[in-house]
Symmetry: C2
Subunit: 321 residues, 2 copies
C-alpha cells in the first residue's frame, strides 16, 4: 500500500501514559524520539498539554503537561525532520498554556472531544489554529453514538477550516465494515479535509482497521510502539510500518527501540491482548470496567467479568460471595 | 455476521501440538472437547493421524497419532453434537491406519498438502472419501506460489468430488485484499465446493482475515482456543465466536477454558504476538527460522533476527561476533 500522502503519527507516550500516569523516564522518551525520527515517522505526539491546576505534578509525570522546556531538553541535539504534536482535552487546558506556534516546539495540537461536545471542540481547535498550529479534531467513542448525532457533528465540522478529522475507535469495537462506513461518511461530509484513523486493539483488529481506513483513503494514521496504550493498546507501529510500502519508512530503529525499552516496560506495565479488555471491546464498553477488574485478585477470572458485564445481577451476586 | 451455513472448526490440539509435540494431558483435551461442545463449535480437530513407524511415541504425544481408543477414552461420557476431525500429511500416514468411517470416532479427515503435491493430496483425500469421511484439502503456503501454479492445482481439484478446499495462510503473511483475491479465485474455480479459511496471526491479522473470508463467502472457519498454534498461533476462537452473530455459539465456556487451562499453559509454552514471528510473517517466510531463533540466548534481539533475514551476510557476521 503506497500513497505518498500517507502520514504516520506516533502516540506512544500520550496514549501509553494513560497506563502509568505519564511516568516515563526522559531516557525512554528521548530514545523513542530518536527511533521514530530514524524510522521516518511523520509526527510524534509526546503527551497531553494540561493545566497544573487540574492535575497534581506529584502524581502525574511531565508528559501530562508537556512544558516547552521539558520537551526541548529531552530532544536536545537529535537531528530530526519529525514534527511534534500534543493532545488537549476540552476544559483541561488553559488557553494561555498554548504559546504562539513560532515560540513553541510543537507543530500540531490535537483536540479530543466527544460528539456531544463538538462545539467546544471546534472552539478549542480554532483557538489553536489561530495561534498557527496544524490542528485535528479526534471525535471519540463514535461507536456509541447515533448516526444522526455523528452527522450533525460532521455538519458543524464542515463549516470550519480544521484540516484533520479523526475517526476514533475508542472502545476497540469496530471491524472493517464499520470503518468503511464511517470513513466514507466523514469523507463525504468533509470534502477537502484529511481523515485520520485511531484504533484500539481489543479484538486484535487495530492494524486491519487501520489498513481498511487506508484502503478507504484515510491519510493520517495513528500507531504506537509495540502497541502501547491503555488496555489492549493501539495499532502497533512495527506492524504498520512493516505493512506500508513507502520506502521512507524504516522498521529497524523501531525493532531496536522495542527490544531496548518497550519489551522490558511491558513486563512491568500491562497492555496488549487481555481477555477482559477483549470482552469490553466486543461489548462496546468503555475500558474502565476492565481496568478496574484487572486491579483485583480476580483479574484472571474471565467468566466472572463476562457475567458482570452481560448479566449484571449475576455479577453483583458473585461479587458479594 | 450471521449466515446459517457457517461452520467453525477448532484446531487447538492439532496446530497447538506443533509447539509441544502433542504432549497435552488427557485432562486438557477432555476439557477442550467439553467446552467446545458447550460453545456450539461444529468440529474439533483433535490431532494428526500418523504412522508410528515415522514418529517415536516416546517423543510425541498421543495426539500425533490419534488412535481411536485414545480418542474414545478422552471423550467418554460427554454429550456432544460436535464432529471430530483429524489431519493427515501426505506420506506420513498408512492407508490401513484409516478405518472405515462407521468403525471410527472421526467424521472428517483433512489432508494438508502443498500445491506441488496436489495430485498426491487428491489421491489421499479420495481414499478417505472412499472410506466414508467428510474430506478437506488444505492447500498450504500459497502465499509463496506463482498464481499459475495455484490455478493448475485448482483445476485438478475441480475435477474431484472433495467437498471442502481451504485457503491457508501458512506464513501469516496475507491481509484482507490477498484473502479476497484468493477466496474469489477458489470460488470461481471450484463451483459447488465449500471454501475454508485457516489463518496465522503473525501480523495480528488472523481474525480480520477470517472475517474478510466470511465477507467473501467462505463457510468453514478454523480457529483455536486463545489462538494456540505454532509461533504466532491461529485465529483466536474467543474472538471469532465473539464476532459471529449466530446464537448457536456461546462464548462463556471458552472463557472458562482459557482461564482454567490455556492461560496457564501459555505461561509454560510460547505462542502469540512475538516480534521474530511478526518479522517472519511480514517477510513471507516459513516460521522455522523464528522458532530456531527463539530457542537461543539472543531470542529478544529482534534487530539481529531482522538482519539475519533481510541481509543474510550481515546476519552471518553478527552471528560470528
Amino acid at each position: 500500500m503506497f500513497r505518498p500522502e500517507i502520514k504516520v503519527l506516533d502516540c506512544s507516550i500520550r496514549d501509553g501514559g494513560l497506563i502509568n500516569k505519564w511516568q516515563f523516564s526522559d531516557e525512554l522518551v528521548r530514545a523513542t524520539y530518536q527511533a521514530l525520527s530514524d524510522a521516518g515517522v511523520d509526527y510524534m505526539e509526546i503527551g497531553y498539554k494540561a493545566s497544573r491546576s487540574q492535575f497534581n505534578p506529584k502524581e502525574f509525570g511531565k508528559w501530562r503537561f508537556c512544558d516547552e522546556d521539558d520537551i526541548k531538553r529531552v530532544i536536545d541535539g537529535i537531528e530530526s525532520d519529525m514534527k511534534l504534536a500534543c493532545m488537549v482535552d476540552i476544559g483541561r487546558v488553559e488557553e494561555n498554556d498554548i504559546l504562539p506556534v513560532e515560540q513553541s516546539v510543537f507543530d500540531m495540537i490535537r483536540v479530543a472531544c466527544y460528539v456531544k461536545d463538538i462545539d467546544k471542540g471546534i472552539a478549542l481547535a480554532e483557538h489553536c489554529m489561530g495561534k498557527g498550529y496544524e490542528t485535528t479534531i479526534n471525535l471519540m467513542a463514535v461507536s456509541t453514538n447515533l448516526e444522526k448525532d455523528i452527522d450533525e457533528a460532521l455538519i458543524e465540522l464542515s463549516k470550519t477550516k480544521i484540516p484533520y478529522v479523526y475517526l476514533v475507535d475508542s472502545y476497540g469495537n469496530m471491524y472493517s465494515e464499520d470503518i468503511t462506513c464511517l470513513v466514507k461518511k466523514y469523507m463525504k461530509a468533509l470534502p477537502g479535509k484529511t481523515i485520520g484513523i485511531h484504533t484500539h486493539n481489543n479484538r486484535q483488529l487495530a492494524l486491519s482497521n487501520t489498513i481498511q481506513a487506508v484502503i478507504d483513503n484515510s491519510n493520517i494514521l495513528d500507531a504506537s510502539v509495540y502497541g502501547i496504550g491503555r488496555g489492549s493498546g493501539n495499532c502497533p507501529m512495527e506492524l504498520l510500518l512493516g505493512f506500508l510500502k513507502n520506502p521512507k519508512f524504516n522498521l529497524r530503529p523501531i525493532l531496536q527501540l522495542i527490544q531496548d525499552y518497550y519489551l522490558p516496560l511491558n513486563k512491568e506495565v500491562e497492555w496488549g491482548y487481555i481477555i477482559p479488555h477483549m470482552i469490553s471491546g466486543m461489548l462496546n464498553e468503555h475500558p474502565r470496567a476492565a481496568i478496574a477488574f484487572r486491579d483485583t485478585a480476580d483479574k484472571d477470572n474471565f467468566v466472572k467479568f463476562y457475567d458482570m458485564l452481560t448479566t449484571p445481577e449475576t455479577g453483583e451476586i458473585k461479587k458479594k460471595n
